[in-house]
């Protein structure tokens, strides 16, 4: 079994190297997803690590101060104030009512300091089940009313 031994060693080296690569780097690239209520319950431990938190952008809450953007995220009627450092311009989809995902750390002041913000358009590309039809339903209802 001499030649199979060689194969076994080579394969073991390759697989081992890959496993090492996969596990050694895992800590720094992990991001935790939290809901707003979980984040607010965590208290001081929350500021220790990078998390991502999602929610809807509260209407009229977006305030721009130079490159810094402040806004509120809402999820299940809980509100989280967010301050984005503005290292990149915000995506096109970032606007009132859109779903947003903010990545960063919780500050001791109760404000979430985001270093990245992703936003999904609330109504298009990804209609939530029922969401787009609802809007259309409304339009349809208006059409009926106006035709009567």
């Amino acid at each position: 079994m001499h030649k199979y031994g060689k194969f076994a060693i080579l394969i073991a080296i390759i697989v081992g190297a890959l496993l090492w690569l996969a596990t050694a780097g895992i800590g720094s690239s992990q991001t935790y997803y939290k809901t707003i209520s979980e984040l607010q319950k965590m208290g001081s431990t929350a500021s220790a690590r990078t998390v991502r938190v999602g929610g809807d952008i509260q209407a009229n809450s977006i305030v721009r101060q130079g490159s810094v953007v402040k806004f509120n995220l809402v999820q299940d009627s809980r509100v989280l104030p967010v301050m984005y450092d503005g290292r990149d311009p915000l995506p096109d989809t970032f606007k009132d009512g859109a779903q947003a995902l903010a990545g960063g750390r919780m500050g001791a002041d109760g404000v979430f300091h985001a270093s990245e913000v992703q936003a999904k358009c609330a109504s298009k590309y990804a209609p939530k089940p029922g969401a787009a039809p609802d809007q259309l339903q409304k339009k349809a209802a208006e059409a009926v009313r106006s035709s009567l």
Binding site: F7, Q30, Y33, Q99, C121, A140, A143, V144
Partner: protein, 668 residues
């Protein structure tokens, strides 16, 4: 009209079920006419699904706004081209596209196999029709594109639709989904033939020969689809990148990786009768990864910037995957004896061994991508927290894997079958190897200190050199012998064995793409808020804002920044990055200002205009264009490999040695 569409989908659903049952019963009970009716049923399904597609397209093109799908994905101002593209702009339509492509493939299989593979065909039809049946459940009952808008039980129509997502209104994005789907769906056919051959214990490798072209064409479509998606991300999204290990991107890559492994490992079976179980596993894995990819993009299993909705069809997909995988695993385990290898590995430095490692690495990368993509799902299910892995994790793992694969691309084809002599190693690899070291040393001396880029470019040189040597040697021999010029000799050489030399061209495409990837560590980026008349600096470029204008079109408002570009003080003309705001969708998109060159791209995104200042994101991206050039070469090589060879080749098996021979059945 929509009733006819919905009805034809329901009929197609019934008939596809009939096709499954008729084929199986006809085959098992030896009733050839019943089995034949199963084949006819496949054609009927195609006609019915096509009818539904025709009706949907007609509704989309004419703006029949009492259909929910039409109203959600088109509007009146939209160009006709994008109205057509709205077919796959949403959930219901894309699932219908899947179904239609499958029905079309199935019809082609039935028509081209009227006189071939007769014993196998009922099973092939049964497998394909089962998949068709599953998708028709979705089309007809779960995600029907023919839902009408109603208010208080009255069917109504809206005056205008909501329009196609403007981000999708770009030529590459319009053709990207069909290509990707042509790839996804196409793997169903080789899978069906593999299963058919497994079920009937068909002797030999007929399923591989029959489906070689299918697999290659499918693989090509998928490569095109992935590259188009990547090109779209680069040219339209305005973030200056082409790949970020997003779940949806990964979904398209997974079956491509396993499909690539399959394309290589079937050669082992064709030439040596080895790796039979492995090939079954690979084609099945590829098929299920394609379904999984559809699941991922269509059901919001993992949250993604592509943001497809959570949807009830997840359950259907997960069940289908579960049942399908269980059945396949059982079938393979039950018939392991039929899949016995006819030869064994002899040397680490051999063609067999290079295929083995190629497969190991491709599969490992496939598994890594799958693991990373599903990590949030896994940690949520089996741990308390939902954790995602960032692009750094993927890069860390996939860059070394990619480089190792690149290396194998160079050495693999030149290793001899069974074992390679020192003599041949020296002859084939001495000059490319030395050249590689010189290139790497020169790059290092020239100030490049990123190890991965140096290794990558060194390997690129190495692989390119081996490929050129292969062409040169072959063509030289021909031109000596037949006294023709060198160029005709190259063409003659390629024509004699299109598989081999087409394959080399595909490898060359991969090399060019890696040259493009190697530029990534040297990207430069700058963000500036520049007033009219002001300027900003990125790398060696100076961007001067000459003017900011606004113009109005029927479906959008466009803000344009007119920039004068200087490089080291030399005037390079103007670039005009713009932002569009689409009225119907209330959404903004970027029209990137791009100055593409072979050495580097200058890439400018006009992110916003505030208080008379233009916010500009500027990137200098070295070598990016080689990725797109490489993709074109890769597709060209695949097309060459599809041309029949001039010299009809039968591949005689090399001599069977060792244990396998003793156990091999004595042929009567």
């Amino acid at each position: 009209m929509e009733n006819v569409g919905a009805l034809s989908l329901i009929l197609a659903f019934c008939i596809s079920l009939y096709a499954v049952i008729a084929s199986i019963v006809g085959k098992v009970k030896r009733r050839p006419f019943l089995a034949l009716s199963g084949e006819r049923a496949v054609l009927a399904v195609w006609v019915l699904v096509s009818t539904a597609v025709g009706i949907l397209l007609y509704a989309l093109m004419t703006g029949d706004f009492h259909l929910a799908y039409v109203a959600s994905h088109t509007d009146r101002a939209q160009p006709l081209f994008y109205k057509f593209a709205a077919w796959w702009g949403g959930q219901e339509g894309s699932l219908l596209l899947w179904s239609w492509l499958l029905a079309t493939y199935a019809a082609v299989v039935v028509i081209t196999n009227r006189k071939r593979n007769r014993a196998l065909l009922p099973w092939v039809v049964a497998v394909i029709s089962s998949v068709q049946f599953f998708f028709l459940i979705l089309n007809a009952f779960v995600a029907s594109p023919f839902q009408v808008l109603a208010s208080d039980h009255v069917i109504v129509s809206v005056p205008d639709g909501m329009g196609l997502n403007p981000l999708l209104q770009y030529w590459a994005m319009v053709i990207h989904p069909p290509f990707l789907y042509l790839g996804y769906v196409g793997f169903t056919v080789p899978f069906a033939f593999a299963m058919g051959s497994l079920i009937t214990r068909a002797p030999g490798e007929s399923w591989i020969h029959t489906t070689r072209r299918w697999t290659l064409v499918t693989w090509m479509f998928q490569s095109i689809g992935i590259c188009l998606g990547s090109g779209w991300a680069y040219h339209v999204l305005g973030w200056g990148g082409y790949w970020m290990w997003d779940p949806v991107e990964n979904a398209s890559l997974l079956p491509w990786l396993s499909g690539t492994a399959f394309l290589h490992s079937v050669m082992m079976q064709e030439k040596k009768g080895m790796m039979k179980v492995w090939n079954m596993v690979l084609i099945a894995a590829t098929f299920f990864l394609a379904i999984f990819g559809t699941t991922l993009t269509r059901t919001g299993l993992v949250s993604s910037v592509h943001a497809f909705a959570e949807s009830p069809i997840k359950t259907y997909f997960v069940s289908f995957l579960g049942i399908g995988i269980a059945a396949t695993v059982w079938l393979i385990l039950d018939r392991l004896d039929y899949l016995k290898s006819e030869a064994e590995l002899e040397s680490v430095v051999s063609r067999e061994s290079s295929f083995l490692f190629n497969n190991l690495i491709l599969l490992a990368s496939c598994f890594a991508v799958l693991w990373g993509t599903l990590f949030p799902v896994i940690t949520e299910k089996f741990g308390s927290e939902k954790i995602s892995l960032g692009p750094e994790w993927f890069d860390r793992l996939m860059v070394p894997i990619g480089l190792f694969l690149l290396f194998l691309t160079g050495v693999g084809p030149l290793f001899a079958w069974r074992r390679t002599s020192m003599e041949s190693l020296r002859k084939n690899f001495m000059w490319p190897g030395l050249g590689m070291l010189i290139v790497a040393a020169a790059l290092f001396a020239g100030g490049m200190h990123n190890p991965y880029s140096i290794i990558s470019l060194g390997f690129c040189f190495f692989v390119a050199a081996t490929i050129f040597m292969e062409f040169f040697r072959g063509a030289h021999a021909i031109s000596e012998k037949t006294k023709v010029g060198f160029v005709p000799a190259v063409i003659e050489l390629t024509h004699r064995n299109t598989r081999r030399y087409g394959g080399y061209l595909v490898h060359m495409g991969v090399v060019l793409m890696f040259i493009g990837f190697s530029g990534a560590p040297f990207d430069q980026k700058a963000i500036g808020e520049v007033p009219k008349g002001g300027s900003m600096q990125v790398g060696a470029y100076t961007l001067k804002v000459v003017d900011m204008t606004e113009s109005e079109k029927p479906d959008y408002v466009e803000d344009t920044a007119i920039l004068q570009v200087f490089k080291n003080g030399r005037d390079l003309g103007t670039l005009e990055p713009a932002r569009r705001f689409y009225k119907a969708q209330q959404q903004a998109t970027a029209e990137v200002g791009l100055r593409p060159r072979l050495n580097e791209d200058l890439y400018i995104n006009y992110a916003a205009s505030q208080g008379g200042k233009a916010t500009l994101q500027a990137y200098v991206k070295p070598l990016v264009n080689w990725i797109w050039i490489g993709a074109v070469v890769l597709v060209f090589g695949t097309l060459i490999a599809l041309v029949p060879s001039k010299v009809a080749r039968s591949y005689p098996r090399t001599e069977v040695v060792g244990i396998a021979k003793k156990n091999a059945p004595v042929e009567a």
